[in-house]
Each structure stands twice: as structure tokens, then as C-alpha cells.
């Protein structure tokens, strides 16, 4: 479903040329739970931005859901992002002035769904993450774990092709981190593809497969216990 072939990303300044990604290739099938790990500076954030259509790349091919995304302008990329990708950020990135309901509503509005459709989706998402009763609350009134669950609900509400998670438990204590990872595993079990970027090996173990990134390249891609993860 997601095909990256020999993706390179070069940042140029007047004096320096930095290769953030070199010949990076990745294939992700539908329904997989893949983790991308590496030390800081390894290029995993660049990978994340490119996979999430947040940045353009210098060379290579990226096909998302069968569609080649090279040469797409900013407008089309935005629309594609909205339809196909669900983001989960390390610091939740909820909009502080909006209540939970309105936060989940944001990507749905960009999608153009009608009011009734949006309400249906938001209500069902809130149910799913167990926050149905807190719809009118502001993010500041929720714990870290609850905020991340809202972010997950926001990411899923539009039925994206895959979730792109960036250190989803980085700002959570171990107890909340567990529950969030449980939720992600559950979502994956229901059929949603998940690509998770993290620097913590213990988290990476929760995925079915891990890709190591080092110096902008893929190192040994270790196929992990597929079957073990799927049945969990």
C-alpha cells in the first residue's frame, strides 16, 4: 500500500549539503504494524515528514495507495494527506482553544463531510477511545493519556489508509503509555495499517516489523514476529 523506492532528501544551504535520507526504500502492506527506529539524527523524522507528505523529497519514488505522489503541488498533497493519513504526534498537537469534539472535527471539515456525517463519526470515535462523556472538555482538562487518545480518535475519524505515529508515548508515563499502545494494537487488529516512528526499542517490539534507520539509510530490516503481533 505504501511504496518508497530509493528516496533521497538533501537539505542545501549556501555552504553545506546534508543528506537526511539516502536511497531509503520501504514497502508497507495493508494491515501491517511497522515501526521505524533509529538514534536521533538518523533521519527518521525526515522519513516521517516525507511519508506523511509533509515535505517533498529530492529523488526517488513514493507511491501511496497506488498513486505516485511526485510532482504533486501543495494543494493536492494537503488533500491527499487529509484523506489517506492519520497523524499521531508526540506532543499530541491538540488545538488548545478547541474542545475535544471540535478537535476531532478539524480534519473532517477539511474533508468536506456534512455536519450530520461529521457528528456521527466523532461520536463513534469518542466512544471507541472511551471519552464520550468529555466531548465538551478542553485538552487542558484532560490527562496526557487521554489527550493522546483524543489525537488517535482524530486520526482515525476520517478512515485513513494508515496511521503515522511519531513517538506516540514519548510524553506519557509508563502506565498511560501502556494503555495507548494497547489501543494502537487493538486498532491494528481491526485492520488499520500503522507506521510508528520511535527511538525506543521496547516500543518497537510492539510492532510486527521493525526498520532500523541509520545515517539516512535503512539498515538491516528485521522481520519480526508477524504472527505473534497479529494475534495479540
Amino acid at each position: 500500500m505504501l511504496v518508497m523506492k530509493d528516496i533521497s532528501k538533501i537539505y542545501r544551504t549556501d555552504t553545506v549539503k546534508t543528506h537526511a535520507l539516502r536511497q531509503f526504500s520501504l514497502f508497507v502492506d495493508e494491515g501491517e504494524f511497522v515501526s521505524v527506529t533509529g538514534p536521533s539524527g538518523s533521519g527518521k523524522t525526515t522519513f516521517l515528514n516525507i511519508a506523511g507528505l509533509l515535505e517533498e523529497f529530492s529523488s526517488g519514488v513514493y507511491e501511496l495507495d497506488g498513486r505516485n505522489v511526485s510532482g504533486l503541488n501543495d494543494y493536492d498533497r494537503s488533500i491527499l494527506r487529509n484523506e489517506k493519513i492519520g497523524f499521531i504526534f508526540q506532543s499530541f498537537n491538540l488545538i488548545p482553544d478547541l474542545n475535544i469534539f471540535d478537535n476531532i472535527d478539524v480534519p473532517l471539515r477539511y474533508r468536506g463531510f456534512k455536519s450530520a456525517e461529521r457528528r456521527k463519526r466523532i461520536d463513534s470515535m469518542l466512544e471507541m477511545v472511551g471519552l464520550g462523556s468529555r466531548a465538551k472538555h478542553l485538552p487542558s482538562q484532560l490527562s496526557g493519556g487521554q489527550q493522546q487518545r483524543v489525537a488517535i480518535a482524530r486520526a482515525l475519524a476520517g478512515e485513513p489508509r494508515f496511521l503515522l505515529a511519531d513517538e506516540p508515548t514519548g510524553n506519557l508515563d509508563s502506565h498511560m503509555a501502556e494503555s495507548v499502545m494497547d489501543l494502537l494494537t487493538e486498532i491494528n487488529a481491526d485492520g488499520t495499517t500503522i507506521i510508528m516512528v520511535t527511538h525506543e526499542p521496547s516500543l518497537a517490539k510492539r510492532a510486527q516489523r521493525n526498520i532500523l534507520v541509520h545515517d539516512g539509510r535503512v539498515s538491516d530490516a528485521e522481520p519480526q514476529l508477524h504472527l505473534a503481533a497479529k494475534s495479540a
Binding site: T45, L48, N49, G52, L53, L54, E55, D74, Y75, S78, I79, R81, N82, E83, F87, F89, Q90, S91, N93, I95, P96, D97, L98, N99, D102, D105, V106, P107, R109, Y110, R111, L138, R154, D166
Partner: protein
Amino acid sequence: METGPILRALMHNKTSFILIALQIAVTMAIMVNAIGIIQERSIQMSRPTGVDEANIFYLKSVVFNAAANYEAQITEDLDAIRNSPGVRNAVMTNTVPLQGGGWSSELQLEPGVDITGTGVAMYFVDEQGIDTFGVNLIAGRNFDANEINWHDFETNDWPPLGIVTVGTAEELYPDEPAEAILGKTIYVNSDEPVTIIGVVERMQAAWNSWSGVERSMLVPVKRGSSAVRYVIRTEPGYRDEVMPQIEDMLASSGSDRLIRGMETMADTRKQSYLEDAAMVKLLTFIVVLLTAITGLGIVGLASFSVARRTKQIGTRRALGATKPAILRYFMLENFIISSTGVVGGAMLAIALNIWMVEAFNLQRIAWYLIPAAMITLWAVGQLAVFGPARRATNVPPALATRSV
């Protein structure tokens, strides 16, 4: 359009909202009332006097030889002036429209001391008066030369004929057309009858803010005294050339007298409305300055508000907002804030106007100024927010993934 969420978000972050809305409201209140005053004054200033302003000038002749024969001097002067090249006509009279000083008396429909009269401005003229002032006789006739009498300070009785303006006729007989006053008799000085033989379209009185400024009467009297005013009408275009010539001619005519106070009708108008004209300019300047300050203020506050939400903008972009969608968001947010501002402003403007009408006797503003100001301030707000909103669209979606 995301009106609901924008409103709810504004509720949680009231500061920018209130500051911009308040600025717009106060600006609107000032703007509406200032423009109201500008309108009122401009209308006042544009009223025609009814006389040939472009070609009329006047001067005063002050004789200081107590033994002089005033009548002879005046007759001699008028002949000389009327026969000068470039002069169309001249008349000796007490004042001119908008001069600021003049004579008014009360006219009554019935004789009697207890009857309420109507104040009317008096112009003492001879049969050349109408032509000299260039006023328009729309009914009846002018005075004949033999109907003009010489009066001096001693004479108290009033001539039996008069010519009034439409304004006077309409005030005395409001239910009839102005021309109907022809032949009627009205009373001056309580019981002296005056028959109206002519109606002039318009000749304003000397006081521009007087409620009776359109009420004048021409009286067939020449008042001989030591200080007299000559009003002179030149042929079109000759005024400036003729003025010094007449002044010299009169001043050097050998008698013991001074010529002073020579003015054009055009300058008289300017002087009369000087304060109004200045007020208009001043208020216009204030309105423009105020709009600029408010506009710049909104630019500043909007920039600040956008900069504060960079992370949020990045997140929205990551979630799929296109650049136009971001622009629309901020334009819509500003529109909502401006709307609150102009609604508040409308109420404030009306309240301010009510107070000013009470306290300073100003006029009520025309209703359409309110929607006009609303539209203007909406436009100013949208224009002001456009820059910061466009900057917002340039926030990269990748910002969302940057840590903190």
C-alpha cells in the same frame, strides 16, 4: 465554513478578540459621528445665497465731515460707479448675505402689539437692487424709481411696498404657493402696512446659522448717513480688475471720507463658513488618521495572534488543511471579530450621537451612515488581516512534527 469552532475558540481566548472588537467599535462610533457632522456642515456650506457671488463686491464709504450732504454724495457716488467700465450695476444698501451683521424686523399677518411676528432680514435698496444682487424675481414686479424714498436716522415710518423672498412667503403663508403672497398686506413695526409687490426666489440673510436665513425682504428706502455700504456687480470676469479702480475713484473724489472694508462676495462666503470648513477638514483628517491607526492596530494584533498559533497552524496543515483553507480560516475569524466590533460600534455610534444631540444640539445622523461605516470597517479589518493571514499559510506542515 467553520464558524462554530472559531467562535468557541475565540471564547477561550478573549483578549485579542476583545481588543480588536473594541477598537473597531470605538473607531466606528467616532467615524459615524464625525462623518455625520461633516455631512451636516457640508450641506450648510453649499447653500446658495441667491446672489451673483462671482461678480459682486462691496465697500464702505465713511464720511467724517459732519457738515456733508449725504444724499448728494451718495447719488454722485452711485452715478460714478454705475458708469464705470466693467460695472454692470451698483446699489447702496445696509448689508449683504452672510455678512454676519444686518437688520431684522418682525412681520405680522395682522396689525397689533400682541400679535406674534416672524423675523425677516431687511435689505434697504433702490430699484437697481434686484439687478445688482442678481436675484431672481419670479413673480410680481420690481420697485419703480419714484417709489424709493430717502430716509435718515430721524425717519421712522416704513414704506408701504415690499418685495419678499420665497422663504418669507412660505413662512407667513405655509399652505399656499409662494406667489400667492402678491398683493397681500403684512405689518411691520406692529401696525405699519406693507403690500407685497414682488417675490424673489432666494436671497439669504446675513447670519448663516439663523433659522430664518431664507427670510428676507427688500425695502425701497435709501438711508442717508455718514457710513454707507455700496454693493457693486461687475460684468462677468471683470471683478478683480474693477475693484481697485472703484476704490481709487471714490477715495480720490475729494470729499472728506474713507473707503474701507472692501470685500468680495466670494470672500464673505468663505469668512462666513470659515469655522465650518475648518471643522470639515479637521474631522476628515481625524477619520482618515483613525482608520489608519485602527487598520495598523489590527495588522499588529493579527500578526501577534497568528504568531502565537504557529504550532496550531502546522498541525492543521498536517491534518490536511490546504493553504487557501488556512487563509480562509483567519479571514473568517477576523470577519467574526469585526462583526462583533461593528455591531457594538453601531450601538456605540448611536449612543454617542444621542448624547451629542442632547449636549451640543447637533443633528441626528442619517441612518445609512451606520451600514456604510460597518462595510468600511469590515473591509479595513479584512484588508488588515490579509497580510498576517497570508504569512500564516506559509507555515510548513512539517512544523507539526518538530519537537516542542
